[in-house]
Homo-oligomer: 110 residues x 2
């Protein structure tokens, strides 16, 4: 996917120290974040995410403000940050990964 390559290029321009620092910052902020917080913790700008997704900065801002979106949009956003989206259904005594959307991602990348 072009988006992933673009992101890889952006990320490569960060020094290893800066990359580590971004990760540590993300951990420091705890385990639960919204998309904008996660992006800032990773020291990425809306412009950089926009480049990776081939959309403009304003569209990135709009996505970050949304309370609901397609799973595919959410996945692309997380992938633009260098992450992988995982969707889980939690039941009282077990958890199940939801597969539909993994398959979708594999197709999009293949």
């Amino acid at each position: 996917m072009a988006g992933r390559r673009s992101f890889a290029e952006l990320r490569a321009r960060m020094s290893p120290e800066a990359q580590t620092q971004a990760t540590v910052e993300a951990q420091r902020l705890g385990e639960e974040m919204d998309l904008a917080e996660m992006r800032r913790a990773l020291k990425l700008s809306q412009e950089e995410i926009g480049q990776a997704l081939q959309i403009n900065q304003g569209s990135v801002a709009k996505i970050e403000r949304r309370a609901d979106m397609y799973v595919s949009t959410l996945r692309r956003f997380v992938e633009a940050m260098g992450g992988e989206l995982e969707i889980v259904a939690r039941f009282a005594d077990h958890s199940v990964k939801i597969r539909n959307f993994s398959d979708l991602s594999e197709k999009a990348q293949g």
Copy 2:
């Protein structure tokens, strides 16, 4: 949320043995499933999910065939099965729960 109450009523009509059996079956089938597999493992019919979501059986079938959907739709479907949706961004060395969509669910239930 009306949907959750309807499901609770459906579920209450199952014997404790049947409920346990449904859970064990779900675990036996492994950790990764699509929505239809998860529903069948929990011994729920499309009609029962439809009742919980106040939509007809055909609409449930359509949702199960979709490769993409709104996070809110996915969440309601999982909740109709008695589960809770969790969305996680996995990075190389840490994971972050995505919060936007938890907030949304709290609002929908409140």
